[in-house]
Amino acid sequence: MNRLKTSPLALTVIAAAVALAFSIIVTSMVLSISGFNPPSTFQAMIEFGTEPDSVVNTLNRASTYYLAAIAVAIGFRMNLFNIGVDGQYRLAAMLAAAVGGAWALPAGLHQVVIIGTAMLVGAMWAGIAGILKVTRGVSEVISTIMLNFIATGIIAYLLQSDKLGTQVAGSDNIGTKPIAPSGQVAGIPYPGAGLEIFGLIILAVVVGVVFHIVINRTRFGYDLRATGLSSSAAVASGVDARRMVVVAMVLSGAAAGLIGMPQLLGSSHSYGLDFPGGLGFIGIGIALLGRNNPIGIAFAALLWSFLDQSSQILEFNEIPKEIVAITQAAVLLSVVVVYEIVRRLGLRWQQQAVAAELAEGSPAGKEVAA
């Protein structure tokens, strides 16, 4: 009966390890074909990636990746494909930066206002897609993709110097008015590093914990998961599926609003043309890799971020750093396949165990330890 206890988490870890091993093999093959030495390349990446400054960069990037993936995962848990996380966080960061730069509020309140604005904007932007879906039957995939383009347009429009934008001193960059120090979040020093870890990495941890608790331990989370697993069964059980769609999109958007916050309050202090973009799409990949599980996503975000960071050494060795994109793609592709295989194997083991139980003809209801 031991096999029954093969927990989803253990299966996830095994699947991820297999996928990672596979992607390393693929990457090695590509490196060999291109005339590079795989072991020494990997060694160089690991050495560079574990330098203190690299660790700080990895953690900082991972915190934004993590938030992006959680935002996507909220939708995924309900079978909603929120591709609009990208537009949601950019619009949210830009408007939050504008609000934060417009007034100097007391420290504490200032940060809360900025973060609150970001969540609100993200939630509203995603909510549009949710409302379109339940009232007009528009697929959220289509509407969120289009909303991404609209967000890009709105940001470009608002970032003109006669609107919310100002010329950044000493460059061609246009950004929102910088946020006063009362609205900034101090970094956390890391021994031996010249850089600091974003203070709002804490925010990512909090979001992860809240996500886990809400999804797994609350009635609301149960309704959300039930709707994702079988919307017909959820409706029959009394879940208002239309309301759930809107609520899930709004929550996903609110989480998306947080993606830009560690960067905005910790380092940029204004939203300019150079603000990182495309995080929403990376979030989709990381949510897939982490199987929509808050712990899995943490590992996936760290791995992704580490690969991004350590790839920077490759150019010094005259290896194109795009090789890392191959590794990331191979991980993603193989992990989808491996998860499916693992899922089927798990199901088969269970059915065998149940059949064995029936064959014995023993009465049911034996304790299986939780």
Binding site: M1, L4, K5, N216, R217, T218, R219, F220, G221, Y222, D223, R225, A226, L229, S230, S232, A233, A234, V235, A236, S237, G238, V239, D240, L347, R348, Q350, Q351, Q352, A353, V354, A355, A356, E357, L358, A359, P363, A364, G365, K366, E367, V368, A370
Partner: protein, 515 residues
């Protein structure tokens, strides 16, 4: 693939001979050392309860599955089928339980679809179809659209398809499951005609009266093994077959003394639900179910039963009329509020509406009850409460499972259904919708589910019972209503009505049918 030639009825070699067929699936043996001899030119019935291995055996014979051990001979020659195409080439055809027809094509087009090489798609094909229809007494207009045909005619199209492909051995998988008694009689006339023309028919069923009336020989399968080969129907009885089939007495659906009270629990008044295209799917339906009463709805599937259930559950909003639970009008209530006030629901399709297949049993225990004790405390899930109560259901309702952490999909249909019944009986429901409560479950589970319904009825539960199994409907109901095209067209007294009379009313054939 040539056109069929007459085979002498009393051929020396049996049409089909199976020896030592064994088929294993992960964890279970579906067929164990099965022996079967089917004489040419006979109707041979294979009976056994759900899950006994009948379907697996037929899939082996039709080339859809390969046996792990054993031999198959057709007309005395050993064969090995790799796919249904091989079986068809040997003159074996299969009529599936679920029809595989294109609704928007005509009978002719459906028959030639996929077999265009035989006689083309034009006049030659038409001649061939008319010839077959004439010879085997399968009356069908080749130019009618399949969507306009009734269930019995659709089945004849399926049979014609098989004949057109030159089959001399027909396998019919539970052909009567979807038919009302009159249609069953017509089907049996067709089968006798086929036999007269020298064809061999393999007929799978678990309805013993039917088997006795049409078969020349009967093979009984229990738990994957043949327990009785080539029984002569003249020398046996339904009782004896049932004993062979389940190894014990067959359970009978019946209620004992009446527990009906005068306290109305569910009252529908003029309930109307519009279906697709604006036509009412449920049309002005009114009835009252009292505490301790089981009201049965008889009707051919698709006559508004599903819409009626969805309207009562609040999944679909009615276009007219009212629904009252006890004294309160609940017409505008949400599904959740209805469930919280004591409506239980055993859905027709348990996979779509009753279970989260990939979730554990204890999480499935919560489904539909996720706002109530013992599953939640305020906004929080009460894991230990839900788990403990799931253990209780597993124990009291005899759900065969190694534990409550297995996923629902790993259980057999009967055990899934027992879990659902146990769940819906929890929390002291006042009113229960039981939609096909014993469909696709084995005899043991069926008897248990009936017993639970009887017990709950005795304690004052009001039940709306919908079933395609007329024996169940008559045996388990205190009152019967017949639904046809969304309207309640007649009432019947379950103590006196016969399945034949009910069948007539269901198809609108009886004189007092249309009101």
């Amino acid at each position: 693939m040539s056109s069929s030639t007459e085979r002498p009825v009393a051929a020396a070699a049996p049409a089909i001979e199976l020896r030592g067929i064994t088929k294993r699936f992960p964890g279970v043996v579906a067929n164990r050392d099965i022996a079967l001899t089917v004489a040419a030119g006979t109707v041979h019935a294979i009976v056994g309860e759900n899950g006994a291995g009948k379907s697996t055996l037929m899939k082996i014979l039709y080339g859809m599955q390969k046996p792990d051990e054993g031999t198959i001979s057709v007309g005395g020659e050993p064969v090995a089928f790799g796919s249904p195409a091989d079986a068809i080439a040997r003159g074996i055809g299969m009529v599936h339980q679920h029809f595989m027809l294109a609704d928007n094509l005509t009978v002719l087009e459906n028959v030639v679809l996929g077999a265009e090489r035989l006689h083309g798609i034009g006049a030659k094909a038409r001649r061939r179809i008319e010839e077959l229809a004439e010879r085997f007494g399968v009356r069908l207009d080749p130019d009618r659209l399949v969507e306009d045909l009734g269930v019995g005619d659709r089945q004849r199209v399926e049979i014609l398809k098989v004949l057109y492909r030159g089959a001399e051995i027909l396998i019919l998988d539970e052909p009567t499951a979807v038919l009302v008694p009159q249609e069953v009689d017509e089907l049996f006339d067709n089968l006798r005609e086929l036999k007269r023309e020298g064809l061999t028919v393999l007929f799978i069923s678990h309805k013993l009266d039917e088997v006795l009336s049409v078969a020349d020989a009967i093979t009984v399968i229990r738990r994957g093994s043949t327990v009785s080969d080539n029984v002569d129907p003249r020398e046996t009885s339904a009782r004896e077959l049932a004993r062979l089939m389940v190894g014990s007495e067959l359970p009978v659906p019946e209620l004992r003394e009446s527990t009906v009270t005068d306290r109305p629990v569910l009252t529908l008044a003029g309930l109307t639900v519009k279906g697709a295209g604006g036509r009412p799917a449920v049309d002005d339906v009114s009835f009252t179910i009292h505490a301790g009463e089981v009201l049965g709805i008889a009707g051919v599937e698709g006559n508004g039963q599903a819409e009626l259930v969805e309207a009562i559950m609040g999944i679909r909003s009615p276009d007219g009329g009212t629904i009252r639970l006890g004294e309160e009008e609940i017409t505008a209530w949400t599904t959740r509020r209805r469930r919280e006030s004591g409506i239980g629901f055993i859905p027709e399709d348990r996979h779509r509406h009753g279970l989260l297949l990939e979730s554990s049993l204890w999480e499935n225990r919560m489904l539909g009850h996720q706002t109530r004790k013992p599953n939640v405390k305020g906004p929080w899930i009460d894991r230990s409460g839900a788990r403990a109560d799931t253990e209780r259901i597993v124990r009291d309702y005899d759900v065969r499972t190694p534990g409550i952490d297995v996923t629902a999909v790993a259980l057999s249909g009967g055990n899934q259904q027992k879990l659902i019944v146990g769940r819906e009986m929890s929390g002291e429901p006042k009113f229960l919708i039981a939609s096909h409560p014993t469909r696709g479950v084995d005899v043991g589970a069926q008897a248990a589910i009936w017993q639970h319904l009887r017990n709950a009825r005795a304690e004052g539960l009001a039940v709306l019972l919908i079933s395609a199994d007329l024996d169940e409907l008559i045996g388990m109901s205190d009152t019967l209503r017949v639904i046809l095209r969304g309207r309640i067209v007649s009432e019947a007294d379950p103590t006196t009505v016969t399945p034949e009379q009910l069948g007539s009313a269901m198809t609108g054939a009886s004189p007092e049918g249309e009101s």
